[in-house]
Each structure stands twice: as structure tokens, then as C-alpha cells.
């Protein structure tokens, strides 16, 4: 068992780290106070350097894609990564991106669809994909920090079935959701830790009060555990590990999101601070694939009933 990345993974993650430190990934307010800030520039840099294909490299693998998804989700800027680097790379590498994923029926409102060049469906007996035309999608106004949309009624993109097990694809998608959610929570935690380290009340930093320290430390425990459960699930690509990873982080997320907003105080309620960029992604991701109870029931079935 090795938790440390191999040489190629370490180099990959080091370059990624540099890219996420650049201005392309940094917080900027949107002129129209949009709930999200899609970074075309970061997307292009990652795409041009082959980052979204990492899962197809034997020495990098799906674990590297999960680590990338986590890392990018830590940034306040938005890039579509989870579906592209994990599902698309594993099952439909020729699809254009960004990619949106429909896993619960054709009317589902899903992230990224208004910007997506292609869609992957996992709600049937097979993996189906389609390239999207300009009239296939309608944008939906949303609280969530994503461009949200649904397929327009009557839209008829050219669906095609791609090879591969839909069960395995669902497992990969669960891992992708888990990685993105864990990264959103980590991004929010880092922002709140910075805030409570600087903001002084009663003559000392807020972060010196145990009432705050212990809750942030508990959040850190859960986020770190979620990260490793997710990477293990990425390596195994099975139902049991993926339901467990996504169910765990979804269940943990509600308390963490509550605490992050609590400790950011009124500033976290404004659009002038990026906290909402993480927490309103997290709130949507918590609900995905049926939410924590459904995923943990699926884990139960996989471990105790299916055999």
C-alpha cells in the first residue's frame, strides 16, 4: 500500500498545483454578480496540456484524475473537470468537452449543460453519448454555483451507445462527484481558516477560540478521510468503494457547509467573498445520485445484500 504518488503522478500534481496558483484560477467577482466564474483560460491551459486525458495514461490512472478533480474544485474559479477527466476519458475519449452528465432522466437539470459540447447519459442500461447543438439545451436559473441547464423538450441530439459497462461508469461517476465535493469543501475550509486567522475579535484572532478550532478540525478530519476514500475508490472502480466514498462525503458535507458559513459570518453571505463558490457547489453535489442516504443504502446492498 502506497499513499504517496508515483513519480509521474507527483510531477503531474506539481504542475497542476502551479496552474491552480495562477491568476486563471483566482477569485474574481463577476461584473454581473454571477454565482460562478468559469475560467476559459484555465480550461484551455489544462486541455492543451492533455490534463483531461490523464486517466488514460497507465502511470497516472483514474486516481490522478480524481486528485485533479479535487484540486481544481479547491479553486474559486470553475472548470468542468470531473466528467471530462474521469467518465469521458474512461468511456468516450473522442467526445468534445466540456461534458455534462445526465444520470436521472431526460428532464434532469444538471451542471455545465449550457456550456457543454457533449452529454453522457447513465440513466439507462447502456452508456449513451451525444454531441450537442446550439438549440439542444435551455439554461435554468439556479442558486447553485454552476451553469445549470436541461435538455430542451424535443431536442434530438444524435445519441449513440459507447462500449463499456454502465455499472462501472456509474461507479466512476460516483468517484468523480466525491472528488469534486471533497475539493469544494477543502477550498471552503482553506478560505475560512484564512479568515479566522486574520479576523480579530475580543483582542485575538477568531481562530484562537476552541469553539471554532474544534469544529474546523473536525471538518479537516472528514475532508481528509473523504479524499483518501475517493482515491481508493478511483483505483478500484467498483460499486462498493464508490458508494461508500460519495455517501461519506455527502453525509459529512452538510455539517461542514454549515460551519464554514457560520465562521465566515456575514461576509460569507455576500457575493464579494468567494465562500459561496464552494458551498453552493457542495450543496448541489450533496444531492447528486440520490444523496447520502441513497448512496449509503447502495453501499449496504453492495456489501450485505447483493451477494
Amino acid at each position: 500500500m502506497h499513499f504517496a504518488p508515483n513519480e509521474d503522478q507527483a510531477a503531474f500534481l506539481a504542475v497542476l498545483e502551479q496552474m491552480t496558483q495562477g491568476p486563471e484560477a483566482a477569485w474574481t467577482t463577476s461584473p454581473d454578480w454571477s454565482r460562478y466564474d468559469y475560467s476559459e483560460r484555465l480550461d484551455e491551459m489544462l486541455a492543451n496540456n492533455g490534463f483531461f486525458e490523464c486517466a488514460r495514461e497507465p502511470t497516472l490512472g483514474l486516481a490522478a484524475a480524481a486528485a485533479m478533480t479535487y484540486k481544481l474544485a479547491c479553486s474559486p474559479a470553475l472548470v468542468e473537470c470531473a466528467a471530462s477527466s474521469m467518465l469521458r476519458a474512461s468511456f468516450a475519449p473522442d467526445l468534445p468537452r466540456p461534458v455534462a452528465v445526465i444520470d436521472a432522466g431526460p428532464d434532469q437539470v444538471v451542471p455545465f449543460l449550457p456550456r457543454a459540447a457533449a452529454v453522457i447519459r447513465l440513466d439507462g442500461d447502456a452508456i449513451t453519448v451525444a454531441r450537442l447543438g446550439p438549440d439542444d439545451v435551455e439554461t435554468v436559473e439556479s442558486l447553485f454555483a454552476y451553469p445549470m441547464g436541461r435538455l430542451r423538450a424535443g431536442a434530438a441530439p444524435g445519441w449513440e451507445v459507447v462500449p463499456g459497462s454502465v455499472d462501472e461508469a456509474r461507479s466512476v461517476w460516483r468517484v468523480a462527484i466525491a472528488a469534486e465535493l471533497a475539493g469544494c469543501l477543502k477550498g471552503g475550509l482553506d478560505a475560512v481558516v484564512k479568515h479566522v486567522s486574520e479576523r480579530q475579535q475580543f483582542g485575538r484572532p477568531l481562530g484562537a477560540f476552541q469553539a471554532i478550532q474544534h469544529r474546523l478540525a473536525q471538518a479537516a478530519v472528514k475532508i481528509e478521510a473523504a479524499y483518501w476514500l475517493t482515491l481508493r475508490a478511483a483505483q478500484r472502480r467498483g460499486k462498493q468503494d464508490s458508494t461508500l466514498a460519495v455517501g461519506y462525503v455527502q453525509e459529512a458535507s452538510s455539517r461542514i457547509v454549515l460551519d464554514l458559513h457560520q465562521f465566515m459570518g456575514a461576509m460569507g453571505l455576500t457575493l464579494e467573498h468567494p465562500l459561496h463558490r464552494w458551498t453552493y457547489r457542495a450543496r448541489l453535489l450533496r444531492s447528486q445520485l440520490g444523496g447520502p442516504a441513497a448512496n449509503l443504502r447502495d453501499y449496504y446492498a453492495s456489501k450485505w445484500s447483493d451477494a
Binding site: 500500500m1 502506497h2 499513499f3 504517496a4 504518488p5 508515483n6 503522478q9 486516481a63 475550509l189 481558516v193 479566522v196 486567522s197 485575538r204 484572532p205 481562530g207 484562537a208 477560540f209 476552541q210 478550532q213 474544534h214 474546523l216 478540525a217 473536525q218 479537516a220 478530519v221 472528514k222 481528509e224 478521510a225 473523504a226 483518501w228 476514500l229 482515491l231 481508493r232 483505483q235 478500484r236 458508494t243 461508500l244 455517501g247 461519506y248 453525509e251 447520502p292 442516504a293 441513497a294 448512496n295 449509503l296 443504502r297 447502495d298 453501499y299 449496504y300 446492498a301 456489501k303 450485505w304 445484500s305
Partner: protein, 384 residues
């Protein structure tokens, strides 16, 4: 990154399980039920550990010079998982294996090593740990038990509390103050004390956590030779730091917790509650918390196996482990409360008695959260 066991690890685990299957008696669950500090389990460990030693499974990770086989860190850990999950048939002797032995190898005098290490490697030594006092628990540096130099001896006076295994122990790894009352960490020394030395009195404390598991230990004019001191006066804190680095990860409690949860789910299924959606979601949640603890613990083992210093990572693991242990016993009490009546389900009872200690013993959860705040998150020193 690779989260699978090597073939060598798998073979080793199978070997340990086969040994346990073969060597644990039919009534083992009833013995284990009494707790690791009980007379029943301690007496059993004195038969069992020599057999483990003969099989090369007591101290395989120790240097061959001291009876080990220089085996890798992961094997030591797999051994710990299997033993704890089986109810810890080594009793108190797991402490020798994990940290007392390695600490003596590093800091002991030649005489101390010769005297104490071979019996540990043979599975015949029972030690207790004289750390906590009535007024020095989490704040251990305030301990007041005094050791006063008197010629070639020290005379020890004071009181320890919560001393696991004290009633059955042959030796005590004792912390005592050699400096003045205000000397803090710098005024403490370690003594290796024979428990039959005149002036030592042990009283069992009736408790929720197993028979004879915790004690008060009184030291009244206990005279020991200066050669019983481990290291120098004032060196205790750095020696304990080394000991803890060997054992920061603690007991692999999530393994027993996960196995007990598995038994609880099977019991619920036998009772026809396996299709209950609430049972399913809750069991999944509790299992996830066990696996969360497992991954955080494995990460610290991986760091140790690569020679990296483990710092706040160990605290993350301990907080998650306490959460997992509590979650399993609460699950059982919610859905299978009748199994905690009588003694028909000894594994649930044994786990419960161990689980309620987890957030308190060996560094309370609040201490761990403070460490995480400062050393993982970089927050300022805390105030109440």
C-alpha cells in the same frame, strides 16, 4: 498511489488468521469479554504470547538482535489489526510489542535491555504505564509523583490513576518528578519499577470498561535503585515523544468496530430487518465512518513505513477512529438493544466496553482537535 495489499501482506494476514483460528480456544469470546486488563485475559495472554513468540508472530518487526525478524512496518500493523479484532489475546502485552520494547531498545542501559527485553520477546512480561494522576491527565506535565534521590536510590511518593493492567503487572513504566514542583516537563524522569516493590498499593476501580481494567496506584516511600531510571533526569518528555512516535497511531480499533458492525448487520438480517431502509442507510453511514478511520490510520502507517515523521496526521486518524467506534456501538444500541442484555452476544459487549474509552484514553479527542487546529490547519494557540 496504490491502495491494495501486496501479496506478501495478504499471505502474512492469512498466516496470522490461521494461527488465531487454531490457537484461540472455544471459550475465547467469554474470556475476551472480561476486557484486556482482566485476570482472565491476562492469564490467558501469559499462555498465548509464548505460543505467538514461538511462531514468530509476537515481535516480527523488532530487530533480530532482540528476538524479532526485522519485518516491515505494515506486517506489524496487520498483526495489530488481527489481534485487536479478535479481542486482543495479547492482553496488556500489546504495549510491550508496540512501544515499551522499542523505547527500551533505544534508551535503556545495557542492563535494562538484557533484563527486560528478552521476557517481552518471549511473551512473558506484563507492564503497566504509570502516567496519569488525579490532577494530571491531559495536562500530564503537571504530574506530582516525586522521586527524590537518596544515595544510590530514589524514593518515590505519589499516586497514579487510570492505570490499566496494574493489578496483574510485573513492571511499571513510571513517570515521576525529580525536579521541583514548578519544573514542568523538564523535571520529569522515567523509572522502571517492579510492581512487587514494598510501598506500592494497587486498588481496582469498578468501571464500565471491563473487569480490573483501571486502577489507582499508590507509591509510599517506594525505594528503587538509581539504575531503575530510564535515561537521564529531565529526559522523560523526549523519551515519551519517541515512544508516542512509535505508537501515535494507536490501537487499530476500526477493525474490530467494522467486524462488529458486520455481525450486527447479519443479526438484523436474521431478524428480518435487512430490507429496512433506515437500517440500510444507517449501517452504510457507520461503515463509511469505519472506513474513513481505516484510511486515515493507513496513511500514518504508510508514512512510518517510508520513514516519514508522523505529526498531525496521527491526530486526524485518532479523531476518526473514536468517531467510528462510537458510531458502531450506538448503532447496536439503537437497533439491537436487547443484545446488550445478558451475555449471549459477547462480541457486542466486548466492543462496547472498548469503544466508550476511545475518545478518552491515550490523548482525549479534544487534545487531538487542538493539535489538528495548530499543526494541520495552522490556527493560533487556542483559548477556552
Amino acid at each position: 498511489m496504490d491502495f491494495e495489499w501486496t501479496e506478501q501482506d495478504t499471505v502474512f494476514r492469512a498466516r496470522v488468521r490461521a494461527f488465531l483460528d487454531r490457537e484461540l480456544p472455544a471459550g475465547w469470546a467469554d474470556i475476551s469479554r472480561h476486557g484486556p486488563g482482566s485476570r482472565e485475559q491476562t492469564e490467558f495472554s501469559l499462555e498465548f504470547c509464548p505460543r505467538l513468540a514461538a511462531e514468530g508472530l509476537l515481535v516480527p518487526h523488532w530487530p533480530s538482535r532482540w528476538g524479532g525478524a526485522d519485518r516491515p512496518t505494515w506486517e506489524h500493523f496487520i498483526l495489530g489489526e488481527e489481534m485487536w479484532a479478535a479481542g486482543e489475546p495479547r492482553g496488556a502485552q500489546y504495549m510491550n510489542v508496540n512501544w515499551i520494547g522499542p523505547t527500551l531498545m533505544r534508551f535503556g542501559s545495557p542492563e535494562q535491555k538484557q533484563r527486560y527485553i528478552p521476557p517481552m520477546a518471549a511473551g512473558k512480561a506484563i507492564w503497566c504505564q504509570g502516567f496519569s494522576e488525579p490532577n494530571a491527565g491531559s495536562d500530564l506535565a503537571r504530574l506530582r509523583t516525586r522521586a527524590v534521590r537518596d544515595g544510590d536510590d530514589y524514593v518515590i511518593n505519589g499516586q497514579k490513576i487510570w492505570t490499566s493492567y496494574a493489578a496483574m503487572a510485573q513492571h511499571c513504566f513510571l513517570l515521576a518528578r525529580t525536579g521541583d514542583a514548578a519544573s514542568g516537563k523538564a523535571g520529569i524522569a522515567i523509572f522502571l519499577v517492579e510492581m512487587d516493590t514494598p510501598g506500592i498499593e494497587v486498588r481496582s476501580i469498578p468501571s464500565l470498561i471491563g473487569h480490573g481494567d483501571i486502577h489507582e496506584t499508590f507509591f509510599t516511600d517506594v525505594r528503587v535503585q538509581a539504575s531503575a531510571r530510564l535515561g537521564e533526569e529531565g529526559q522523560a518528555w523526549s523519551i515519551i515523544g519517541y515512544s508516542l512516535a512509535n505508537e501515535r497511531t494507536g490501537i487499530p480499533r476500526y477493525e474490530m468496530a467494522a467486524r462488529v458492525l458486520d455481525e450486527m448487520v447479519h443479526e438484523l438480517r436474521r431478524r428480518g430487518r435487512g430490507e429496512d431502509a433506515i437500517v440500510q442507510a444507517r449501517a452504510g453511514s457507520v461503515a463509511a465512518r469505519c472506513e474513513a478511520a481505516r484510511m486515515l490510520v493507513y496513511r500514518t502507517v504508510d508514512m512510518r513505513s517510508r520513514g516519514e515523521a508522523v505529526d498531525a496526521e496521527a491526530s486526524l486518524a485518532r479523531v476518526a477512529t473514536a468517531d467510528a467506534d462510537q458510531a458502531v456501538t450506538e448503532f447496536g444500541m439503537e437497533f439491537l438493544s436487547d443484545t446488550f442484555n445478558g451475555d449471549a452476544y459477547p462480541a457486542f459487549l466486548a466492543h462496547h466496553e472498548r469503544a466508550i474509552v476511545t475518545g478518552i484514553a491515550a490523548g482525549a479527542t479534544e487534545i487531538q482537535l487542538g493539535l489538528i487546529s495548530r499543526r494541520w490547519l495552522g490556527l493560533p494557540n487556542g483559548v477556552a
